[in-house]
């Protein structure tokens, strides 16, 4: 398998940026390069990463999903609500996950069968799902459900000293990387984003694949929501607000093209890490949260500009 190690040097920009950022931060703060801090960064990054992994697929097909934050909130509330009404934790989490998959699939159906532009379709469902969450929770956080072991583990547990969310993130990362590189599903994802009309005329199941891709993103957003619920031990109806922006930023920072057909999941992972490390570093340096936003936006802009120059 020569190709697995054959790295395209041109694509390494995000990784180099990430390493530079780490070097700078390690000089600026003594606490940055500690095991504890890194486990902390990875745990914080895991939620955004999971959503961004799904977003990578969606963007590769030439679409976008703005509803991920609302899907996260609804799945979170549903899981918590089920447990509050006495359901087994494992069962409740499965239901939360399924709800996410279905909401994602609904996005896919609206986009493909209803022929609505992804931006518009998911803008609408973002509002609908958020509204549904508020209806379900009556606008109040859900707390006080009995703390069950499986549910505890997913957000707060450790696996050989590594936080479970981080383990989940890494396992899913490798699975999705394999899917994109080695399976027909992955190849079709690239083909549809690269040229939808040609793919259709080649006999690919364009609609079906897109529905699956949105369902995948829904499922991953739901998983992120369940992890968040476990970490906080409560479900907030406003959870996940504006999470779509961080996910899109991670995908774009990783070098995936918003016009579809070009990109990779490794880049997204690095993109999510850049955002995570930046957040963490700025906190360690006691930068006010107002400035943090300015800096984060600036970094995203800089990264994208550098990326474009490379292409020209």
């Amino acid at each position: 398998m020569k190709r697995a190690i054959e790295f395209d040097v041109k694509k390494l920009g995000p990784l180099i940026g990430f390493i530079l950022l780490c070097i700078v931060l390690s000089f600026l703060s003594d606490n940055f390069l500690t095991v504890n801090n890194w486990l902390n960064i990875l745990r914080q990054v895991s939620i955004n990463s999971l959503i961004a992994f799904g977003m990578t697929f969606v963007i590769l097909t030439g679409g976008i999903d703005l509803s991920v934050g609302s899907v996260l909130a609804f799945s979170s509330a549903l899981t918590a609500g089920m447990m509050a009404s006495g359901m087994d934790g494992m069962m409740a989490m499965m239901i939360g996950l399924m709800a996410g998959v279905l909401m994602g699939a609904l996005n896919g159906v609206i986009i493909t069968k209803g022929k609505v532009a992804p931006f518009i379709a998911t803008l609408a469902t973002m509002t609908i799902f958020r509204g549904a969450t508020l209806v379900y929770t009556e606008g109040r956080p859900i707390t006080g459900f009995s703390d069950q072991i499986a549910f505890q583990m997913i957000g707060r547990g450790y696996f050989f000293g590594i936080p479970v969310p981080v383990v989940l993130m890494i396992v899913i990362f490798f699975i999705l990387m394999f899917v994109l590189r080695k399976t027909t599903f992955g190849r079709h994802t690239y083909a549809i984003g690269g040229n939808e009309e040609a793919s259709r005329l080649t006999g690919l199941h364009v609609d079906r694949l897109k529905i699956w891709v949105y369902a995948l993103t829904g499922g991953l957003s739901a998983l992120a929501g369940i992890i968040l619920t476990s970490r906080l031990n409560s479900a907030q109806p406003t959870a996940g607000t504006a999470y779509e922006l961080d996910a899109i930023a991670a995908v774009v920072l990783g070098g995936t093209s918003l016009s579809g057909g070009r990109g990779w999941i490794f880049g997204t992972f690095v993109g999510a890490l850049i955002i995570g490390v930046l957040n963490n570093g700025l906190n360690l340096l006691n930068v006010s949260s107002f400035y943090q936003q300015v800096i984060k936006g600036g970094v995203i802009l800089l990264a994208v500009i550098l990326d474009r120059r490379k292409e020209a």
Binding site: T183, T184, R187, A191, G194, N195, G203
Partner: protein
């Protein structure tokens, strides 16, 4: 007469790969000068050097008597050299006048308020000079491709162009539009404007051009006056060898019916279209552009909804409502627009070749790399696709090789009925012949082929039978073994006895 443009000893290399090895090229005022060569011979590179997109490694370029070193097409334009690209650069939502003056609008001093009437009057003047009647107020998007092209020519004129470079100008035009374009070219000549005419269509070059220059593998082969040369000589100069007959001998035996279409109807597109094609047979489909030929084939392939009509495959009635179903019935459809509908341009040759056949090279949805590579290698060899590696992006291949990739990807599905829509458009002579030979080989193995083509010599040269479509209706089906000629086909295609 002193030449307007004179290029001498032009050399250019990209990463050690020598693309041009000392090319001489000159254009006199008021001359139509054809530039010919197979894909990859260096025509585009030469023109890009002339217009300042590339820098030359060696050689001189003089325009109007003085040596020039253009850094951008803008500078070339200032000296009167304009390019009419194959992909037109017009904005469909703006009017004709607005397009002609785009970026140079006539305004009321510095206010930016556009003096519409003045622009329209001046646009009209240029259009009249070209002898066409197009209203400057019309939206460009509502014009035919041929007229849009004339708008581009008018724009070049308004920029005071002295030399127009036309790249495959007739590729998307109907017969009638080509006639109009030729009249426009004639009136440009009379005004002393010269034209560099790049085309693969031999007939046109012999109709409209004064001289022809030929490149092969980056080498300058020679310049001839059109009256002093002929078809065979030009082809030989281009490919460096005799390619023999332009169309290979058709020697297959025709078998039983593969596909029959009955009463295919979609209001506004086609009406009551019925025909059949048998195994080992090539059915040529002629007609003017916009007659509905491609649309009919898209309906048969399930890529477009039909209102009425039955399709029979091997004498059995079938329902086809999606390309997947068509493929399952052994159909394959090679579209006319390989960039928009045939290829995923940023994917590699390998990925494109196996796109419709991924099931064959994967197990449980996971690729079997070796199987895939074996299949790709086989197709590349079988079709003689020229690519340094199967991992190359398909968009970096020449037109002829891209077309072979499209054909190759469908051959992988082992189709029994192959629909080819303009299979040799933008493909050079050598590769054309190879595509014809592939078609012959397929029919020898019992494949039925439907070939849409706007090049009548090709239709006559390759088909066993010829179906003519006019305004969505079948107006004639000729047996090509009888005496059929271009005129009979054109008469049927224009739907009249005396047109």
């Amino acid at each position: 007469m002193t030449p307007f443009i004179e290029m001498k000893g032009i050399k250019k290399a990209f990463h050690k790969h020598q693309v041009l090895t000392g090319v001489d090229f000159e254009v006199k005022p008021g001359e139509v000068h054809a530039l010919m060569g197979e894909n990859g011979a260096g025509k585009s590179t030469l023109m890009k050097i002339l217009t300042g997109i590339y820098e030359r490694d060696a050689g001189t370029v003089t325009v109007g008597g003085k040596e020039v070193h253009y850094k951008s097409p803008k500078e070339a334009e200032a000296d009167g050299i304009a390019v009419i690209h194959q992909e037109l650069n017009v904005i469909p939502t703006l009017s004709v006048a607005e397009n002609i003056f785009l970026g140079r609008e006539k305004t009321l001093s510095f206010t930016g308020v556009i003096r519409k009437r003045e622009m329209e009057e001046e646009a009209k003047k240029y259009l009249e000079q070209l002898g066409v009647s197009i209203s400057p107020k019309e939206l460009v998007g509502q014009l035919s491709v041929g007229k849009q092209q004339i708008i581009e020519i008018a724009k070049a004129l308004s920029l005071n162009a002295k030399c127009l470079i036309m790249d495959e100008p007739t590729a998307a035009l109907t017969e009638r539009e080509i006639q109009i374009l030729f009249e426009v070219i004639q009136s440009l000549k009379e005004k002393g404007v010269s034209i560099v005419y790049i085309s693969h269509r031999m007939e046109e070059i012999f109709t409209i051009c004064d001289r022809i220059s030929i490149l092969r593998d980056g080498q300058f082969i020679g310049t001839k006056r059109i009256p002093d040369t002929n078809f065979d000589e030009v082809v030989q100069m281009m490919v460096g060898r005799e390619i023999g007959e332009r169309y290979p001998e058709r020697d297959t035996s025709i078998g039983t019916e593969r596909l029959r279409v009955e009463g295919l109807t979609l209001p506004g597109v086609c009406e009551d279209v019925s025909f059949s094609v048998r195994s080992g047979e090539i059915l040529g489909v002629a007609g003017l552009m916009g007659a509905g030929r491609s649309e009919i084939m898209e309906m048969i392939f399930g890529a477009r909804k039909k209102k009425k009509g039955d399709i029979y495959i091997n004498e059995k009635r079938v329902t086809i409502s999606s390309p997947q179903q068509a493929i399952a019935h052994g159909l394959a459809f090679i579209t006319e627009d390989r960039k928009q509908k045939g290829l995923v341009l940023q994917m590699s040759v390998r990925e494109n070749l196996t796109l419709p056949t991924m099931k064959k090279v994967s197990r449980a949805g996971v690729f079997q790399s070796q199987k895939e590579q074996a299949m790709v290698k086989d197709l590349i060899e079988r079709l003689r696709i020229k690519t340094s590696s199967p991992e190359l992006e398909v968009k970096s291949l020449s037109g002829g090789n891209q077309q072979k990739v499209v054909i190759g990807k469908w051959l992988g599905t082992s189709p029994s009925i192959l629909i080819l829509d303009e299979p040799t458009r933008g493909v050079d002579v050598g590769a054309k012949k190879e595509i014809y030979e592939i078609m012959n080989e397929l029919t020898r193995n019992g494949v039925a082929i439907i070939m849409i083509s706007s090049e009548l010599p090709e239709v006559l040269g390759m088909s066993d039978r010829i179906m003519v479509i006019c305004e969505g209706k079948v107006t004639a089906i000729f047996d090509n073994h009888d005496e059929v000629d271009q005129e009979m086909i054109m008469t049927a295609a224009t739907g009249g006895e005396n047109s």
